[in-house]
């Protein structure tokens, strides 16, 4: 299809034609178009349906304030809903689809809602779906969910990736229009390290769409020259397609750069920039607002400035016969520019008296002028057909250019709860200069200065102020000569005589009637009216609508705008996709994966892995003939108990503690005594939190004089190290002790089972005697293996078997596991994973993460005697509090189902037989469960009230979620080898 509405001129490149598809039809546009301008060039104005009433909607703006023209960008089976067609830079192959309509854009079923409009007024949901209560989940919510929402999410994963970057500068200029470019020129010529960001893909702001001169050049030519000069400066960074959306502490600004609008783009699609700067000039310009009048949402109604943009910048004829409806001079500029391009302007309707607009009227002599008049009604459905005026005239037009004044873009000045000030002269809110974010200056239209020459002057002043604060002399530049038309207009919100609905917020379908009704119903605060009517709560955040809403509230309540106030501004300034915020941290890259030293070996052994914090640990090693993981785990347990097994325990936290006060320091952080630990011996240790609850457990090995290695649980390694550093630096800095984490520097394997010593003797060098008498249970030593490789040997047992933990510097870990595996063949060595490890520790009744749950004391775990009262240690005093030594506390016990084949589950709660399952009868809960091949039964650990007294008795394990109610026997937590003979053999 030809671009039937394309006219001469404009900032598009006719040498680069681009093809695109909208709603299945093929069209063409040019490089430099947005999707919206290309659609308009092809005569398409109807692009979407509204949120609530499904009214037909057209393109309304030419920038990110667009409330109507949202589309879905499509690429094969993925899509991005709610894309603003006014900001999408046209690219070849772009495919878009209108949203919120079915079966088609022109005939939409849900537009029936429009007929029920009297029922769908403000607070509709609150009023209608009140009762019956049971209807909420079954009827109302599914109904609302189906009807609500803009666009539709893609069913597939986002194929694009996003990134994050950091930038630093002396001066950040936000906005690349007249003010931003001028400030950039001043700063750039003085050599300041400057970043200039602009949301659009072209710099220039309003100058791209206006028809005026700067320094004798057409204003867009002045822009092009200025950009060229700035581009040549190495210390100035121009960032187009980038919008600052948040102001944070310490002059940190977050911006989003749209590198490509294309879905599945090459390289990152969007980037979040964290910009750290010393000074900020906010040159964000102003956004035009509309006027509320009857059926003012019909396709063909457009902001006056947007119509200038489409005419001048994009060379598009948006209509054939236009009416201008304005409260200020902006509408007159549109009429003039349309006229120049040969587009018929049928009428200028100005709400002002003749003498109030006579200045600008001199320039538009040809056009019929209706002073002190208003549009009360728009005729037409899918397109404007005619208008009726207050004075009774009916004029046939196919488009209306509307201007109700301008809103300075003050969003970024108010994100820290600052309140803007109403300025009656410009009919707009401006920032309170006394409350600006630290280091920020506002320049140009963003503070209500509209005449181009004054904007340039102001931008130069602000840039000079920055220069002087940085110790530079002011610039010697001259201010370019430019248009000096000051703003002339009158505050005007809505046509009161209108009988039809008059829209304030197009995107959320909020009309003047809704706002007046809300006030009538007693919603006096603008925050309340906003939430009750949803005014300004759509994705456009009310950029065109919210000030009009405030004006109508003020009018209705007979209050001033100041008294009415604004709602609170919050980041982000424009919608930012969650995907962009998470940046590269998604999927597998959400956090780093920590692989154990034996990972490559475990992969070869076909291990199944389990995530344990950031670690990936071997869970079990299935054999080909095993059909269920339980079979593999049982085999691993039996092989270890009867023979010998090996597992990687490198993930346990390892902290090296050295210094003349090392032992005394450990006495402070462990509740049991460490100073009495002999050299070459290990001891089990418990750390308490200061409130007396168990923090972590592990072993302390006295390796050499003033040298200890302590271990922590895998889960708590980071916290324990942090805590120990806190104790060392903040509580006892006078102690001579140094700490370092060696978790990753040393690989450690547990070799467990009756044959473990025989196996080890084949690995360690001959001069080390590890016979039971010379190297008994809880011994440790620095040794060498495999002809001189440095190693550490600890005789520790988590499994309850005779067992050793062998540590080597991590670089030997892979070679060592393979070597042991090779040697182990003669011993039938079996690698085992975390499941078998868990089974064996439950059989032994060792408390682990499930029991060290932040609620248990040492006493609860049956370890109360370990808390030494002879010394001060963290938590020792508060562990004696009444509530922590209450005999009715939950105590660790073992539980077994009376029928050994019945499967109990962890999380089950414990009740006495025949007692009702109520919270007051609750006796406790099961923390860990495993199938024990040694007991031929499921076994579990449980925390039971006054548990020791229940041992030998029968209770019930109830899991209402799984419909389980199982008779259990309470036992000692030590199911296997309770005297601990096997580990001392």
């Amino acid at each position: 299809m030809t671009q039937k509405n394309r006219i001469d001129g404009g900032l598009i490149d006719r040498n680069i034609p681009l093809n695109f598809t909208f709603d299945g039809k093929k069209y063409s546009g040019f490089h430099g178009d947005t999707l919206a301008s290309a659609l308009l060039a092809n005569g398409i104005n109807l692009v979407g349906r509204s949120f609530k009433y499904h009214r037909p909607r057209g393109i309304f703006t030419s920038d990110s304030s667009e409330p109507n023209a949202l589309v879905e960008l499509i690429n094969e089976d993925t899509k991005e809903p709610n894309s603003r067609s006014t900001t999408i830079q046209l690219f070849d192959g772009l495919t878009a689809q209108s949203q919120n309509c079915w079966p088609s854009l022109k005939y939409d079923i849900q537009s029936i809602n429009d007929c029920f409009a009297p029922l769908l007024t403000a607070g509709f949901y609150y009023k209608t779906f009140m009762w019956p209560k049971s209807f909420w989940e079954r009827v109302y919510e599914p109904l609302i969910r189906r009807a609500a929402g803009l666009g539709e999410l893609a069913p597939s994963t986002d194929p694009d990736h996003y990134d994050r970057g950091y930038r630093h500068c002396d001066l950040l200029i936000i906005g690349g229009g007249a003010a931003g470019l001028m400030a950039g020129l001043v700063a750039g010529r003085e050599g300041l390290n400057t970043i200039l960001v602009e949301e659009d893909f072209l710099f220039g702001g309003r100058l791209l769409g206006e028809n005026e001169e700067i320094d004798g050049l057409q204003c867009h030519d002045w822009v092009a020259n200025t950009v060229k000069e700035l581009e040549a400066m190495p210390h100035v960074r121009l960032m187009p397609k980038t919008a600052v959306f948040g102001v944070f502490d310490q002059k940190t600004y977050f911006a989003i750069e749209r590198l490509s609008d294309q879905i599945n783009s090459v390289g990152p699609r969007q980037m979040i920039w964290e910009i750290n700067t010393k000074h900020i000039i906010l040159a964000s310009g102003a956004t035009e607002r509309h006027i509320a009048f009857g059926n003012n949402d019909r396709p063909g109604v457009m902001l006056a400035s947007a119509m200038r943009d489409y005419t001048n910048r994009f060379a598009v004829r948006t209509a054939s016969r236009v009416a201008v409806f304005t409260s200020n001079d902006s509408g007159w500029l549109t009429a003039r520019d349309l006229n120049q391009k040969g587009i018929e302007v049928a009428a200028i309707i100005d709400i002002r008296k003749k003498e109030e607009h006579q200045e600008i009227a001199k320039k538009n002599t040809q056009i019929p002028i209706y002073s002190e008049d208003q549009i009360i009604k728009v005729h037409g459905h899918n397109r404007v057909k005619a208008i009726s005026l207050l004075n009774g005239a009916k004029i046939s037009v196919d488009s209306i250019a509307v201007s109700g004044g301008w809103n300075p873009s003050i969003h970024l000045t108010c994100q820290h709860r600052q309140r803007p000030i109403w300025n009656e002269v410009i009919s707009g809110f401006i920032a309170n200069e006394a409350e600006l974010p630290s280091g920020m200056k506002v320049a140009g239209a963003a503070k209500g200065i509209y005449a181009t020459n004054l904007v340039l002057q102001d931008a130069m002043n602000q840039a000079n102020a920055v220069l002087s604060e940085l110790g530079h002399a002011p610039t010697k530049m001259m201010i370019p000569s430019a248009n000096d038309d000051t703003y002339r207009g009158k505050t005007f919100w809505s046509v009161r005589e209108t009988k039809q609905r008059a829209w304030v917020d197009f995107q959320n379908d909020v009309t003047t009637k809704d706002i007046r009704l809300a006030v009538q119903e007693g919603f006096y605060s603008v925050e309340h009216v906003k939430r009750y009517t949803t005014l300004g709560m759509a994705t456009d955040q009310g950029k065109t609508s919210s000030v009009i809403g405030i004006g109508i509230i003020a009018e209705t309540m007979n209050k001033s705008i100041e008294e009415t106030g604004t709602t609170i501004f919050r980041a982000p300034y424009i919608p930012v996709a969650i995907g962009a915020l998470s940046g590269p941290h998604s999927g597998k890259n959400f956090r780093p994966t920590r692989e154990t030293p034996s990972h490559p070996f475990a992969v070869e052994q076909k291990a199944q892995f389990v995530e344990s914090g950031a670690w990936l640990r071997s869970q079990y090693f299935p054999h080909a003939n095993e059909l269920h993981w339980q079979e593999s785990v049982n085999r691993e347990v039996l092989a270890t108990r009867n023979n010998v097994g090996i597992t990687d325990v490198s993930t346990l936290g390892k902290i090296d503690v050295q210094g003349t006060d090392a032992a005394a320091f450990l006495d402070k952080v462990y509740c049991n005594t460490i100073t009495t630990l002999n050299m070459n011996r290990c001891r089990y240790g418990i750390m308490l939190r200061e409130d007396g609850i168990v923090m972590d457990d592990g072993t302390v090995a006295h390796l050499a004089k003033n040298h200890f290695i302590v271990t922590t649980t895998t889960a708590n390694a980071v916290q324990v190290y942090r805590h120990m550093e806190f104790c060392r630096q903040c509580l006892w800095p006078e102690m001579d002790v140094a700490l370092i984490s060696i978790t990753e520097q040393w690989a450690q394997y547990a070799i467990a089972g009756p044959k473990s010593r025989h196996l080890l003797e084949k690995i360690i060098d001959n001069d080390h005697d590890i016979s039971n008498s010379n190297f008994p249970y809880m011994a440790c030593d620095e040794i060498s293996i495999c002809n001189g490789i440095r190693a550490r040997l600890f005789r520790l047992s988590f499994s309850g078997e005779m067992a050793y933990e062998l540590a080597v510097p991590a670089r030997y870990s892979d070679a060592l596991i393979r070597h042991i595996h090779e040697i182990g063949k003669t011993f039938d060595l079996t690698p085992y994973g975390t499941e078998a490890l868990g089974v064996m520790r439950i059989e032994k009744g060792h408390a682990a993460g499930n029991e060290l749950n932040g609620q248990t004391t040492a006493g609860d775990l049956g370890l109360g005697k370990m808390v030494s009262k002879k010394k001060d240690s963290i938590g020792s005093i508060l562990s004696e509090r009444e509530g922590l030594v209450d005999p009715m506390r939950h105590i660790l016990v073992g539980v077994m189902p009376c029928d050994p084949q019945q499967k109990i589950s962890s999380g089950s709660h414990i009740f006495a037989s025949k007692s009702a399952c109520t919270p007051s009868n609750d006796l406790g809960y099961i923390t860990s469960v495993a199938y024990s091949p040694m007991s031929n039964s499921y076994i579990g650990l449980a925390m039971i009230k006054n548990g020791t007294n229940h041992i030998g008795g029968k209770l019930r394990a109830v899991n209402l979620l799984q419909n389980q109610d199982i008779d259990i026997e309470v036992t000692s937590p030590h199911f296997y080898d309770p005297k601990g003979e096997r580990l001392r053999e």
């Binding site: 944070f248 310490q250 200061e690 942090r722 550093e725 806190f726 509580l731 800095p733 005093i877 508060l878």
Partner: protein, 94 residues
């Protein structure tokens, strides 16, 4: 947010973890009497001031030093950052 580390200069706050009120530095020397009350006050009673506040931050992704950060709870401005161990040692010699 950045924290001006006394040894390493300004570092991104994401490298740190916060513990809270620097009052935790004043752990009581176990007194003979009323131990439980003294420790209870130490551990649980905190001021919640508007304005200046001393906080403990740990440079976990850095040099692992504990810092005392003076921060304005109203403006989030950080006025002073010191090594905790240095402050305590200074206090002990005085």
């Amino acid at each position: 947010m950045k924290i001006n580390h006394p040894l390493l200069g300004p570092r991104n706050a994401s490298e740190f973890t916060i513990l809270g009120d620097a009052k935790l530095l004043q752990r009581p020397n176990t007194p003979e009497r009323d131990q439980a009350r003294v420790f209870y006050e130490y551990l649980y009673l905190r001021d919640n001031p508007i304005g200046q506040h001393q906080e403990l931050w740990f440079h976990e992704q850095g040099d692992r030093s504990w810092l005392i950060v003076s921060r304005d709870t109203l403006t989030h401005e950080i006025n002073n950052v010191e090594l905790a161990s240095k402050v305590i040692k200074k206090g002990q010699t005085q």
